[in-house]
């Protein structure tokens, strides 16, 4: 019973019983009792399904995914029960899971809206009493709107033609989205579709005074942190914490001239440092754990159990760290920092500083150009012999440049910005992978030392870590050889000219 169908609107003047009588003249009807159902709509926090045109809803453990254009895409009768959150991997193998996994990735599903409705399910049977299709008639709780969903069973096209004719004769032809009350239901839970994105989307006006624009930027970043905080504290998925850390980094990247724009920024800088320190250990462990599958694949099957044991311990450590982090984030001291931030941004009688009234576009040019020059200086001598600490420093400079470009992105032409960002991302990918490999090797080395001290019975783990260290080392060495070429691409004349064209000093 899983052939795609579409919801159709039942005309107000058509009694349901009349339609059923028309169908009963051709088919046997097997009606399940009418039920009142509470349908829960689920999506990731950042609306990954909605962005792709999908609506996913569940009633108990029965799940259904609909696409706005093509109708019902997949159903799953015995999926997970959605209490607070669940992942695509919690679904049994099948069509729905196959569709969800690539879209959701590591993000969890959360209940984002709830709609109450009356539902009647009726199977249409042929002469052998075999169900050849089923219809579901749904009515919203306010009885304002009735929809009909036809689920066709494969291989009975002749019968489906008869059903379509009967529906058309009764005026059932208009396709609609499953429930128009979806957006209202979202609002009831304090959400609205696409109200959150992982991208920084604040629109700036180039002529706006720097102080006002920076206040808006910091307010938006504070909002991002506040929105993600409940998810990070409840530990729904690692992306909540990741988004908080990105917001902190973005905020820090804008602080380069902050003292000359917002005189109160010294306290902001202290706060970001504290937030960074609190959230760091849990995020580091998240990064190691997200690499688990890749790391296991690197080893021969005889070494894998040892590594899995090691990751199980890492996962336990993460739980401990996450609890510690949640305690600190929820502490009075942190709360006080947030409210101080909030107050600082709202205060009107702020002291002026020399760059406060500069148009934001000029400030953005200065920040980005300064960050860019630091990257160029750091990367000029980059080659296979560059010490790891230098590479790490360059990676941080690249990150800061990238965050600054993201913060002020709305001030520049999209197409050209895309070109410089793409070149920067390529360089970042190599430096990032190199650094990850370096950090992971260091973590594994430390773990081996601790293991040896703990117990000789952990030989399996030690052997697995040894194998993994070797594999990571080889990959890191291969990356080292690609530095010079990657930087040459980033520092080529065309990109340099584009950077200067976009972010050059303007006539002051």
């Amino acid at each position: 019973m899983d052939h795609p169908g579409r919801d159709m609107l039942l005309p107000d003047l058509l009694p349901t019983e009349k339609l059923l009588a028309a169908l009963a003249a051709e088919f046997g009807l097997d009606a399940a009792p009418e039920c009142e159902a509470s349908v829960v709509y689920a999506d990731s926090f950042d609306w990954r399904l909605y962005r792709k045109g999908y609506l996913l809803h569940c009633h108990g453990s029965y799940w259904s995914l609909c696409h706005g254009d093509s109708g019902e895409a997949a159903t799953q009768p015995d999926g997970p029960k959605l209490q607070t959150s669940c992942f695509a991997g919690d679904f049994p193998p099948g069509e729905l899971r196959k569709l969800l996994e690539p879209i959701l990735g590591g993000r969890c599903l959360l209940p984002l809206a709830e709609v109450n409705l009356h539902s009647r399910q009726i199977s249409l049977l042929n002469r052998d009493k075999k169900a050849i299709a089923a219809i579901e008639i749904r009515q919203s709780a306010d009885r304002e709107r009735r929809t009909l969903l036809l689920r066709r069973v494969r291989g009975y096209e002749g019968e489906h033609e008869v059903i379509r004719r009967i529906l058309a004769e009764n005026g059932v032809t208009e396709s609609v989205l499953p429930l128009t009350s979806f957006e209202d239901a979202c609002r009831a839970k304090g959400r609205s579709p696409l109200d959150y994105s992982q991208k920084f989307t604040l629109e700036l006006d180039g002529d706006e005074a720097a102080r006002e624009a920076m206040i808006r930027i910091y307010q938006a970043l504070l909002d991002t942190i506040t929105l993600n905080m409940p998810g990070a504290l409840a530990d729904y998925d690692p992306e909540f914490l990741h988004d908080i850390r990105v917001a902190i980094r973005r905020a820090r990247s804008g602080l380069i001239f902050a003292k000359r724009v917002l005189p109160d920024s010294v306290s902001l800088s202290r706060m970001f440092r504290r937030l960074g320190a609190i959230t760091g250990p849990t995020r580091d462990l998240d990064v190691y754990l997200l690499a688990q599958d890749d790391h296991v694949k690197r080893l021969s099957s005889c070494l894998r159990p040892g590594l899995q044991e090691f990751f199980a311990e890492l996962s336990r450590k993460r739980q401990v760290e996450q609890k510690k982090m949640a305690r600190m984030l929820g502490s009075r001291k942190t709360e006080a920092l947030f409210s101080a931030w909030q107050q600082a941004l709202k205060r009107h009688d702020r002291q002026t500083a020399d760059l406060s009234d500069l148009p934001i576009r000029e400030l953005a040019d200065r920040i980005i150009l300064k960050r860019y020059k630091r990257v160029m200086r750091g990367g000029r001598n980059l080659d296979a012999t560059t010490p790891d600490t230098e590479t790490h420093r360059l990676r941080l400079q690249c990150k800061k440049l990238r965050y600054a470009i993201e913060l002020f992105g709305s001030l520049y032409p999209k197409q050209e910005l895309k070109i410089v960002t793409r070149q920067l991302r390529k360089l970042q990918d190599i430096l990032g992978s190199f650094n990850d490999l370096s950090v992971q090797q260091e973590m594994l080395r430390q773990s081996v030392i601790t293991l040896a001290a703990e117990s000789p019975q952990k030989l399996d783990q030690a052997a697995a870590l040894g194998g993994l260290l070797q594999s990571l080392f080889q990959e890191q060495e291969a990356l080292r050889g690609r530095f010079a070429r990657a930087f040459a691409r980033f520092g080529n004349q065309k990109t340099v000219m584009l950077f200067h064209k976009l972010f050059r000093k303007r006539g002051r």
Binding site: D2, T75, P77, P92, P93, E95, S123, K129, V153
Partner: protein, 245 residues
Amino acid sequence: MSVIAVYNIKGGVGKTATAVNLAYLSARQTGKTLLVDMDPQASASFYFRVCPQQNFGAKKLLKGGRHIEENIKGTDYSGLYMLPADFSYRNIDLALDERKESHMRLHKVLAPLMAEYEYIILDCPPNLTLLSENILYAADYVLMPLIPTTLSLRSLDQLYAFLDKIGLGHDNLLLFFSMVEKRKKMHAEIMLSLRERFRVLQTTIPYSADIERMGVYRQPVAAALPASTAAAAYASLWREIQENL
């Protein structure tokens, strides 16, 4: 993406009940599944109330392609599809004999379906013919129900000899005991002696009135009576098969 043939030279050993229940469990637990009824008696098709289209028969089956696509029908269970059998399958050996590479025909017909289904389960007729040879070539695994009797032992020996003759190994053969009656001493003795000689799966399917009644309610026992001993036995068998694939 595996083809599992439920096969035995001997009839009345519980092949169809096994194919129907395992196909149901596969669709429910693993993913999209196709049950192909190869038996002209069409018992599996009867259980699911599915009939072939009027113009479908052995020749169309062997042509494959759209002739098969058009005849696959949905069952009452999500993710479970079936290709129903036709009475003309009784002459399928003649139709096969007319074709080139007649022993590989079924493999070629099923190959394009492999990408769409997680499992294709074949409910096979009881004999040792050209069709049987086709089934043994096409299947990734052959699942063989054995009633613990001396005749079953004989049919197993015959199958081994046939596999040797056509040059197929014994590695993909999965044996399990079916229609087992605990109170029969002979069943226990034969099971013990067969386990000494052959690798047989641990799960046994009991002789059960619930399974016999499948013909009355026309549903897999795992769907109609999910709490029954028989349903639990099939669930355990499916688990063990997956561990062995």
